[in-house]
């Protein structure tokens, strides 16, 4: 199995007035192709910052990020954009669909940005896979939250990414819908062999991943692996039961 993401001594410091705030402090981790992991921790622990840096959305103050063989530190913003377009998919808590595009057009965007023109059928297929074949020409405002997130998932997978970053993918959904979205996400993930990085507060969701990194004050305070597979073993022991 190949190495997809390698993070070494990653540090991010933000200036705040006269002071400096260390949001991430020497974080290191490695993920192989097909791995699933969750980053958990309280608000302000640096989860989203870590996700942003791993995905090449921001520059680290120190340390390195190597994504699918590309060391991101030395790249320009446009070079990082090209890496993202080729290797990365995103799912957002608030869905982040472009309000002026239909569901189908939203799914097409990453593929079109790659320069492909014949993506309509493929996008339609993706929507069909997430159960929205009959909603392709609806605008985001005409879709429910769950439907919007399905479109978001279809959009995330259309470029067949090597790694998928999902930020609280069920955070804005009710339990039933959230659960359905989780199933969909893990199904697609296992089918396509994509590496999955989840940022979440939802411990049940975290339990379904293979590895869990717990962040506190910008540092990884614990890391657990599910040797028995997602949803069982050490991870389940590490994370207290919910409900």
């Amino acid at each position: 199995m190949s190495l997809v993401l390698s993070v070494s001594n990653l540090t991010k410091i933000f200036p705040s007035g006269d002071r400096e705030i260390t949001v991430l402090d020497s974080v290191s981790l490695e993920l192989m192709a097909g791995d699933t992991c969750a980053i958990v921790g309280p608000s302000g622990s640096g989860k989203t910052t870590l996700l942003g840096l791993c995905a090449g959305l921001d520059n680290a103050t120190a340390g390195t990020v190597t994504l699918c063989g590309h060391e991101l530190n030395g790249l320009t913003e446009d070079e990082r954009a090209a890496v993202r377009n080729k290797h990365v998919g995103f799912i957002f808590q608030t869905f982040r669909l472009i309000p002026t595009l239909t569901a189908l057009e939203n799914v097409m965007v990453p593929a079109e940005l790659r320069g492909r023109t014949d993506v309509r059928a493929e996008a339609f297929g993706m929507l069909e896979a997430v159960g929205l074949a009959d909603r392709t020409h609806h605008y985001p405002a005409q879709l429910s939250g769950g439907e919007q997130q399905r479109v978001g998932i279809a959009r995330a997978f259309i470029n067949k990414p090597d790694i998928l970053f999902a930020d609280e993918p069920t955070g804005n959904l009710d339990d039933d819908t959230g659960s359905a979205i989780e199933d969909l996400l893990f199904d697609l993930n296992s089918t396509s062999g994509t590496t999955l990085v989840l940022v979440t507060h939802d411990l049940d969701l975290a339990r379904r991943t293979g590895r869990v990194f717990r962040l506190k004050m910008g540092a990884v305070v614990s890391e657990a692996s599910n040797t028995a597979g997602p949803g069982q073993g050490i991870v389940s022991e590490l994370l207290p039961p919910t409900g």
């Binding site: 913003e77 995103f90 982040r96 002026t100």
Partner: protein, 841 residues
């Protein structure tokens, strides 16, 4: 550029296209102004080219201030071709039916003129019939003024004429010129020759038409020496055409620049709207970045949208401009010498559209630069947002440089010379900077000093002007510029009237009689006494020319091509003699000699006015030789005076001492003061009956003429100011549209908290009212500054604000702002809180 950019730009604009139309509405009028004015300019040029010959009415004309001498007569005779003479002079026109009199320009014509074009009259046949006897064609406005009709009689000097028709349009004259002095055409053979007595001012002209295709300009060049030596001026079709071209080009260039200002304001409005629009698109931009869109790809998406908006704007602007183009000849009717046929000028449309497009894109680039700085991280953390201000990096400065270069290039293209263009663009930046500064200051003052104790409705209304993404500054700027132009015209007109009033107040003369022959002076004094008015001054006037300075003749100076002679060397001087200075004069050098004995004095000591002394390059002690109607008089400059020409007095360049000119051919000017217009009218009529050759000027008439001329100029400027005002209102409409959702939320929140509908509406009205006040105050501050400069330095009167006029202007502006705001806000304040909350959910 890949097709994705275009495709995405199109898809992304969905749902915003109506809003975008509103954004571009502010630039439509600016483009319309440019299209209409530049098209009109082309139409005007075509009309002047097509009717060039009719502007002069002949191929060539000679003009002199005295009857042609033998040399010139022989020359005229030798030139052949068809010839027609004309003699023009000022005289009183007396209407026997009503007893009214009016100083007019009398033109005595021979048959033939105009050889090209025609004199337009009502009835049309009068244009040729009036030459068959004692008939006159009279300026239509003059007839209207005195309720006179075709068929009535009019007397000029001692000769009575039947009014054969009204003058509608004549060669070489516009309606505005007619206002200064109404024209009366009579047959040359029927004029009262006594009115052309020595000393009276008259123009003698001869018009030529050459059938043999002679080049009139080459002929003039060939005859230049002899014509100049005899003080004969010439005019050819080409010169006339160039003259009109120049003056009318200046006129339409001025209008075009005013239109350009409206475009700049509109583009600022568009840029301001795009700024808000881009801020609403930040999430989309961040998302695209997440998915791998390159920085310039996203920039190009929104640049494409801005270009598309600009294109729609110029198309709409061109269409509106074509409509307005038809109005311009009506607005400028009084200033045009030819009928302008309105036709589409593609050149003007392309140029104006190009300028409109260019300026809009340049201004749009500033807010578009924000796109470059959007971090993809915002897609995860919307709270990050982007800096409200576009960073002042090299791209920002490069854009600013492009805007400055673009505007300057336009100004240079429109101006006759590069330097004028540069000055104009510098002036434009200064006016904009001052307006911008004043608007900023006003807004800040309002924010900092809004009294805390004001009722809530007021405080909330004022606070609304500072809501995020507000466009208060741009609106204040656009409306303020319009106010500035209109208020400045109002202040200038007020200062002018004040100056005229000042000139006639107290014991100062308000009625002037001139062309009085020496033997008529006693009779005039008697007539004044009979009417109970005083002779305030009786001034003898002698016409003369300078023939030499410091021993060198003007002729030899003329022959020397390296020397440049000025108007002061060539002009005919009207001088007087007296023993003391008058109120309007101040001695700056030497002394005024009271009187001399001509037998013993040798060089006559004369006093010269300072400015003309500079033009003639003479100073104290220099000698000047005058030709006083055939007699050479050698003089020495004994004193230099300054003269306040603004004063309604008989002012002179040269003043002789007593004892020299008493026996020279002369005429007198008598100044008097009448208590009211009625006495003035009666006295003028009595004078015209008793002494038909004597002319008079009533100061109240001068006042009304100036007022009328000024009103026409003000009308044109105010027409242009309207572009700016309406642009401001469009910006306001766009601003209300942009903030619609915010306003909806505010209104719902207030209603939820218990505010009544009327409270919400009052808050909104307060906001628009304060905006109107801000704009009016901004424009007014500048107008008052400009008005003060005009009053202090141009009109030299005490600066007084015409409170009533300004009050009406400000009131109207506030009212219009409130109405436009209200119209655009309809629907916002009607929605129920629950309905909106559900929609939001």
């Amino acid at each position: 550029m890949n097709t994705w950019t275009l495709k995405f730009a199109w898809r992304d604009s969905r749902g915003s296209r109506r809003r975008m139309l509103m954004y571009i509405s502010s630039m439509v009028l600016g483009v319309a102004a440019l299209v209409s004015i530049n098209s009109f300019g082309d139409n005007l040029k075509q009309a002047i080219d097509a009717e060039a010959a009719t502007l002069l009415g002949a191929d060539l004309s000679f003009e002199g201030r005295a009857p042609f001498n033998d040399v010139i007569e022989a020359l005229i005779d030798s030139l052949g071709g068809e010839q027609s003479r004309r003699t023009s002079f000022s005289s009183m026109a007396y209407f026997p039916l009503t007893g009214d009199v009016r100083l007019s320009t009398i033109r005595g014509h021979e048959r033939g003129f105009p050889f090209y074009g025609e004199i337009e009259t009502d009835p049309p046949e009068a244009a040729s019939e009036y030459l068959t006897g004692r008939n006159a064609l009279v300026d239509a406005t003059l007839l209207q003024q005195f309720n006179a009709n075709v068929g009535d009689s009019i007397r000029i000097g001692t000769v009575s004429y039947r009014i054969a028709g009204k003058l509608v349009q004549t060669p070489r004259e516009t309606a505005a010129i007619m206002l200064f002095s109404p024209r009366i055409y009579v047959p040359l053979s029927e004029i009262d020759r006594t009115l052309l007595a020595r000393g009276s001012r008259a123009d003698y002209e001869v018009y030529f038409k050459f059938e043999d295709g002679r080049d009139a300009d080459a002929l003039v060049e060939e005859l230049k020496t002899v014509l100049r030596a005899n003080d004969i001026r010439t005019d050819t079709i080409k010169e006339e055409q160039e003259g009109w071209d120049r003056s009318l080009s200046n006129l339409y260039r001025f209008l075009s620049l005013a239109g350009f200002m409206a475009l700049l304001l509109g583009s600022l409005g568009v840029a301001s709207s795009i700024h808000v629009y881009i801020r609403q698109r930040i999430q989309t931009i961040a998302l695209l970045r997440c998915f791998g869109a390159k920085t310039w790809d996203t920039f190009r998406v929104y640049l494409m949208q801005a270009i598309a908006m600009g294109l729609v704007g110029v198309i709409l602007g061109s269409l509106v401009g074509l409509g307005i183009q038809a109005l311009i000849p009506i607005v400028l009717a009084d200033f045009l010498p030819v009928d302008v046929v309105v036709s589409i000028s593609w050149g003007a449309i392309w140029m104006s559209s190009g300028i409109g497009m260019g300026v809009t894109i340049l201004f749009a680039l500033l807010p578009l630069l924000t796109v470059i700085n959007v971090s993809p991280l915002i897609a995860f953390r919307s709270e990050l947002g982007v800096d409200a201000k576009t960073p002042r990096n090299w791209m920002w400065w490069a854009t600013i440089a492009m805007i400055v270069v673009g505007i300057t290039t336009f100004a240079i293209l429109q101006a006759p010379r590069v330097l004028v263009g540069l000055s104009y663009s510098a002036g434009l930046f200064i006016v904009f900077s001052i307006l911008w500064g004043v608007a900023q200051l006003m807004i800040r003052i309002l924010r900092a000093h809004t009294p805390k104790k004001l009722p809530y409705v007021w405080r909330q209304g004022i606070a609304n002007l500072y809501r995020p993404n507000n466009q208060t500054l741009v609106m204040t700027l656009a409306l303020g510029l319009g106010t500035f132009l209109i208020a400045t015209m109002l202040l200038a007109q007020h200062a002018l009237l004040q100056q005229i009033n000042l000139a006639t107040e107290g014991d100062r003369p308000n009625l002037v009689f001139f062309d009085i022959q020496p033997d008529q002076v006693a009779g005039v004094a008697d007539l004044l006494e009979e009417n109970g008015v005083p002779v305030i001054d009786n001034v003898p006037i002698i016409t003369m020319r300078i023939t030499g300075i410091n021993g060198e003749t003007i002729a030899s100076m003329r022959a020397d091509t390296t020397r440049r002679l000025t108007w002061a060397h060539r002009r005919e001087y009207r001088s007087t003699y007296r023993s003391k200075l008058i109120d309007s004069e101040v001695l700056v050098e030497g002394e005024l000699v009271e009187s001399v004995d001509i037998e013993t004095i040798g060089l006559i000591p004369v006093s010269v006015e300072q400015d003309v002394a500079q033009s003639l390059r003479i100073s104290l002690g220099d000698t000047v030789t005058f030709d006083v109607q055939g007699v050479a008089i050698d003089t020495r400059i004994s004193s230099v005076r300054t003269v306040d020409w603004q004063r309604m007095q008989t002012n002179f360049f040269f003043v002789f001492p007593k004892g020299v000119l008493e026996e020279a051919p002369q005429f007198n000017v008598v100044l008097t003061r009448t208590p009211d217009a009625k006495v003035a009218g009666r006295l003028q009529a009595s004078m015209a009956r008793a002494f038909p050759n004597i002319s008079s000027i009533d100061i109240s008439l001068v006042m009304s003429v100036f007022d009328a001329i000024f009103s026409r100029i003000a009308f044109v400027i105010q027409f242009m100011a309207l572009f700016s005002i309406v642009t401001g209102l469009f910006v306001l409409s766009a601003a209300v549209m942009i903030s619609r959702f915010q306003r909806l939320e505010e209104s719902v929140l207030l209603k939820t908290l218990g505010a009544s509908r009327s409270t919400v509406i009052k808050i909104m009205l307060t906001e628009y009212m304060v905006l109107g006040i801000l704009a009016a105050a901004t424009g007014l501050v500048l107008a008052i500054g400009a008005g003060w400069v005009l009053a202090e330095f141009l009109f030299e009167v005490e600066f007084v604000l015409p409170m009533q006029g300004l009050g009406v202007l400000i009131g109207l502006e506030i009212l219009i702002t409130m109405v436009v705001g209200l119209i655009n806000s309809r629907g916002i304040y009607e929605r129920s809180p629950l309905e909106v909350l559900r929609t939001e959910a």
